[in-house]
């Protein structure tokens, strides 16, 4: 793979990396026919972000042989280090070259700067399987679209340390954001902030009345900063509590998605049947099967064999009032947020998204009735 980025797009790449760095510790790169894909996922698999940079984004784009697309991951810190200072990027960098050298296992990042200075960074990479979250905005009942500025101005009222926020559709079509207080003990101590936005602040509002979801604000801020700097409208698709929320933005050169797990709402009595763990998935297509594999493998370094041997993981019931019934046709169960793995951050019962139920080393133990079928064998990080 070889790509060259010129001019202000270098800064855009830098900003994308900053946004991804809020999500995970490893940056996954995959050059495809439709562009260079940069992805990251949180260690507990409750957040996934991807940026797809179209070929037109580049001055030169050579993804490499389509038959064997190189997929690699690098340490986020190393990659971010190259783009750490965005103002410096703007001032001094004229061109950026990305080159994959498979034999040396190195990803070369070369910045051509003013005054004839060239900075070359050789980052070690590891080959890996595809990191892919399965999500489908079509299946989301509610969606909102707002200029990034509006959302940024809304989010500024919440403390930087606030972990989660609840987005709700209120009376009169108004949308509210409210700080989420984790447990009863906190109620008497923590300050609760709530903000209301009128429907005409949004470019589009199509929400289920009284719907609400709770997601991690910290992870969202990363993408929001990117959207604000790029001046792009942000679209939020969401469904019932527990199902992932999808934040997207796009322009002709680039598209970005952030998928966040949402909190299962124990008080909500109207759990759709899918939330119980049984999915009524369509028959898996070929693509689907490919992603199925990815769940099982889900970014652990060593590539598992095609037949990993482990059947798709069962769901882990969490905080849901209904008992989870296991479905013998497990193939179809690999739906978006089927695996309700105790996720990030600790103590939070987010349903894990879409990576299946591979237990991560940091997670709490599964419900006693379930067994861990796919052990996390990844020793790193």
């Amino acid at each position: 793979m070889k790509c060259v980025i010129a001019g202000s797009n270098v800064r855009a790449l830098g900003r994308a990396v900053h946004a991804l760095s809020r999500i995970g510790d490893e940056l996954y790169l995959e050059p495809t026919g439709s562009g260079l894909s940069l992805r990251a996922a949180s260690p507990s698999r409750s957040a996934f972000a991807s940026f797809l940079l179209a070929p037109l984004f580049f001055q030169l784009y050579q993804p490499g042989p389509p038959a064997a697309p190189p997929r690699c991951k690098v340490h986020m810190k190393s990659f971010l280090g190259v783009f750490r200072s965005l103002p410096a990027l703007e001032k001094t960098v004229e061109r950026c070259l990305l080159l994959l050298r498979p034999r040396a296992s190195r990803l070369v990042l070369q910045l051509h700067c003013k005054y004839g200075i060239t900075r070359t960074h050789n980052l070690a990479f590891q080959e890996c399987e595809r990191l892919q979250a399965v999500f489908d905005t079509q299946r989301c009942a509610s969606s909102l679209c707002a200029p990034a500025r509006v959302l940024a101005e809304a989010v500024v009222h919440f403390p930087q340390t606030l972990a989660e926020v609840t987005l709700a559709a209120g009376p009169g079509g108004r949308i509210s954001l409210r700080s989420y207080v984790e447990d009863e003990a906190e109620l008497g101590k923590a300050m609760v902030t709530e903000l209301w936005l009128a429907p005409d602040e949004f470019q589009a509002v199509a929400v289920v009345p009284d719907s609400r979801i709770t997601f991690c604000l910290k992870e969202f801020r990363g993408l929001l900063a990117f959207a604000e700097a790029s001046n792009l409208p942000l679209t939020i698709h969401y469904d019932a509590p527990g199902r992932p929320a999808i934040f997207s933005l796009e322009d002709p050169l680039m598209e970005a998605h952030l998928v966040l797990a949402t909190l299962l709402d124990p008080e909500s009595s109207s759990q759709p049947p899918a939330a119980n763990g049984i999915s009524h998935a369509p028959a898996p297509s070929d693509d689907f099967a490919d992603d199925l594999e990815s769940y099982m493998i889900a970014m652990e370094t060593e590539s598992y064999g095609e037949d990993s041997g482990a059947p798709p993981s069962p769901t882990f019931p969490l905080r849901t009032p209904h008992p989870i019934e296991s479905d013998p046709q497990e193939e179809e169960e690999e739906e978006e947020e089927d695996g309700a793995v105790p996720g990030t951050p600790p103590h939070k019962k987010f349903r894990s998204l879409f990576f299946g139920s591979v237990m991560t080393s940091g997670g709490p133990s599964p419900a006693p009735s379930q067994e861990v079928l796919a052990e996390d064998s990844d020793g790193e990080c």
Binding site: A154, H157, G188, M191, T193, E194, L195, W196, A198, E201
Partner: protein, 284 residues
């Protein structure tokens, strides 16, 4: 017990925010006392605070366009609340362009000060942000703990040097020592001293001036007969002093301190509409 207040003027909001920011830097939790015409932020000298105490007084009329208060009882028309000033400071921080800020005492799940900020927006209706700040209502039987501290029988009273200068001196000294000695005399001279095994540093200030305290019957007699050159000194925790100086966002109209030798240093900072008194006890 009811309380509601409203600020509409941006300058007043700005001033009030600055006062709250200063208080937030000085105390993690403190008591807010509300009367018909004044607000007080009070910190009483518990061991947990390191013995410091604070008394900050504001005239509500200088800040609020509307102020309605109904105290605990008719003859005790006051409200005492315990709160975390940092919360109030944060709520006001992003309200600096607000059309109006309302503060109300509510009790939905628990007693709260509800700060409602009405912000301008490009849409037809304003954006409303509300912050529910949990507070504890302090019962009347404990009100005695929060009485206004008396001016101590000081040995020397002296105006402080420019706070900015004093702050930068103290900040550098903070890296070298945990305690600092403040000494001053009635000749307008003040020294800030630190001494460690390795180094001792003294900064001298001259021509500061000594405030003329009206001699009330014998109260200031210890100061009257005092030799002008003789220094009164107290060793205090340097962090506490640094917090006080760092918290000052605006230059006070008058800034002075009263030193009771080896016992306590009493700082008085006066602004147009706010007065702040801060007591730092001497270290053993």
């Amino acid at each position: 017990m009811r309380f509601r207040a409203k600020i509409v003027d941006l300058a007043c909001l700005n001033n009030f925010s600055r006062v709250v920011n200063t208080i937030a830097r000085l105390a993690k939790t403190c008591t807010l006392r509300l009367t018909a015409d004044k607000l007080y932020f009070i910190l009483c000298d518990k061991v947990a605070n390191g013995g410091v105490s604070m008394w900050c007084e504001l005239c509500q009329g200088n800040f609020f366009d509307e102020f309605q208060m109904e105290g605990v009882a008719a003859d005790h028309n006051e409200i005492y609340l315990e709160l975390t000033p940092e919360n109030l400071s944060r709520a006001l921080k992003t309200a600096q362009s607000a059309k109006a800020v309302k503060i109300k005492l509510t009790n939905k799940h628990c007693p709260c000060l509800k700060v409602s900020v009405e912000l301008p927006s490009l849409s037809s209706s304003s954006r409303i942000v509300t912050h529910d700040i949990p507070v504890k209502v302090i019962p009347r039987r404990l009100w005695n703990d929060f009485r206004e501290p008396r001016v101590p029988d000081f040995d020397v009273s002296i105006y402080l040097p420019a706070l900015k200068t004093m702050k930068s001196v103290v900040e550098r000294m903070k890296n070298l020592s945990h305690s600092i000695v403040i000494e001053a005399n009635l000749n307008g001279e003040m020294n800030l001293k630190i001494e460690t095994d390795l180094v001792s540093v003294t900064t001298h200030f001259k021509n500061l001036g000594n405030p003329p305290w009206a001699s009330e019957d014998g109260c200031q007699s210890s100061a009257q007969d005092r030799d002008l050159e003789s220094m009164a000194e107290a060793r205090i925790d340097i962090k506490k002093l640094q917090q006080l100086l760092a918290g000052q966002q605006v230059n006070p109209t008058k800034a002075l301190c009263n030193i009771v030798s080896k016992r306590i240093v009493h700082f008085i900072l006066l602004h147009e509409d706010v007065s702040l008194q801060y007591f730092i006890p001497a270290l053993a």
